[in-house]
Amino acid sequence: MKAYKTLLAASIASLAAPAAFAQGIDEQVNQAFATATGPFVSFIFAPIPGTGFPWIVMWLVIAATVFTIYFGAVQFRFFGHAIGLVKGDYSDPNDAGEVSHFQALATALSGTVGLGNIAGVAVAVGIGGPGATFWMILAGLLGMASKFTECTLGVKYRNEYEDGTVSGGPMYYISKGFNELGLPGGKILAVLFSIFCILGALGGGNMFQANQAHAQISGIVGDYPGWITGLIFAAVVFAVIVGGIKSIATVTEKVVPLMGILYVGAALIILIANYNMIGWAFGQIFAGAFTGLGVAGGMVGALIQGFKRAAFSNEAGVGSAAIAHSAVKTKEPITEGFVSLLEPLIDTVVICTMTALVIVISQQLIIDETTGVYMLNEAGTAIATVDGNTGVALTSAAFGSTISWFPFVLAIAVILFAFSTMISWSYYGLKAWTYLFGEGKTVELVFKIIFCIFIVIGASASLGPVIDFSDAAIFAMAVVNILALYFLMKLVRVELNSYAERLEKGEIKKFGH
């Protein structure tokens, strides 16, 4: 609590500091950060030799396709069953009081639904054009199979401790699963995953959130140094994860779903208000998907952006959701897999598409009237927008063009989403951290403090280096996780076949409620 007060005091005092000095700190942080993370980012996004296509994007798409084929389009065959599970149709009333399928899904979703859906989509559409949306939806649909695979394993191989608490996630299923199959290298992969998970927690789960939250706030109250936002956020996160002030987290957990509903509701209102343009928008999305409509990088650019942002938003194949889903007490690990496949659908196919449609329909992206294709900005790196907006500011302007006061609601939503994603990822990062360094109060405290420091760095740095590092860290998790999933997927198929057979025979019954 003391540290919390000191942080607050420092941030208030800093408001009085000369602006030039403050901007200097931002710049220094930004530069140091970009230099430090450069090589890692270049490696992850290295293009396949002879093409401009990053190998990592290919890696994710191939994996999602392989899982979709290997499990016989599980995301479509068991879609209805997944809904039934979430509704509680198959829950034994005698197990009431344990974490329900709905709760596990909601918890995992609050970690993924967030700025990826608001800012990330704007980045994708801003660079890749409307066509990016098509690839994003496709990636979302395929990603459902990846999510299914990892979450089933997450529950199957979690650790259950004597006191009744649980710990799970890729680090556990990789080491235990490889052991079971007699494969070497499980431990090394698990350690590697944990390292990347910590980086991912600090990147996409933290810095990107802080950065975009700051962009949103300064868009409304006027420009001011990012580290101030960073300090305030860090203080609140610190209060929750170190100070154990549960009430803040509890309130957020209840308000965030409401914000999500409000966001989709507002998007729907805008779509209804412009219903005559929906057809045109979809036309742009399809045409852009295959021709690029003149955007930077053409069709490939649209595809890369779509796939990248989908993966960043729904985290399918990344392994983070497997950590969140492991808490469910179920006799059938595979049921958690079925439930989790709804995540990419809700996150990407529904919410991200809404954002993209609103941006396209609000005509924030400038179209050259003579050629009918999108105009690029001066640097030629992205599509020119009405006020030069990018990221969350673009989404905000798009919503604001129809509902003038919505940017204020969006600002609150962004702050809350950023906050809840940070809390979720602090948990994921902590699980990886304790896997590496063991459980214990001091060990955990060290990670939590590092986590809070990165909030300040994230809010201070500019979007470019932050988003690069965030993507790179999250995708690095996917490199290890997916590699392991290829070896472990046969274990999931055994479960799937057995379950499907029993479901067919009527051995898995609905409970009358």
Partner: protein
């Protein structure tokens, strides 16, 4: 044949009054068994943090343990001392729904509950558990004031 009666406790005075009433009733019926039930209000459709989920199983055991040792077991013991057959049940769930289900599962011929345990704003919107039970129960319900 044993006549079974479910009695709902909630750790409050009204619950105690329901129990007293049930005991008097049971003492007048030949071969009667009381199913002393405590339902821990719980919904599968709430939003929780990952950390809460992680500790949920442990918390559930603690909740069941507290309800059993503080409310249900003392009640069952007292009934047995008074020469009445009794068994205790503790479960999580929606109070009205769960009481009704337990009564049905045990083949109870009626449910006895206290009048109202929650009040104020929530009651005005959602009605009380007792109201819900009275409206939806599959066996007769006696509400003790």
């Amino acid at each position: 044949m044993t006549v079974k009666i479910t009695v709902g406790l909630d750790g409050t005075d009204t619950g105690e009054r329901a129990l007293t009433f049930a005991r008097d009733l049971a003492s007048r019926i030949e071969n009667c068994e009381l199913i002393v039930t405590y339902v821990i209000e719980w919904s599968p459709f709430t939003f929780q943090t990952a950390e809460e989920n992680e500790k949920r199983h442990k918390r559930r055991d603690e909740e069941i343990n507290i309800a059993t040792t503080r409310v249900v077991t003392p009640a069952v013991e007292a009934l047995k001392d008074a020469g009445i057959k009794a068994q205790g049940v503790v479960q999580h769930g929606d109070v009205a729904e769960t009481l009704n289900r337990i009564a049905t599962e045990h083949g109870a011929s009626q449910i006895i509950v206290g009048r109202v345990s929650n009040d104020g704003f929530t009651k005005r919107i959602f009605g009380s558990s007792t109201q819900n039970l009275v409206m939806h129960a599959s066996v007769p319900v006696t509400v003790v004031g």
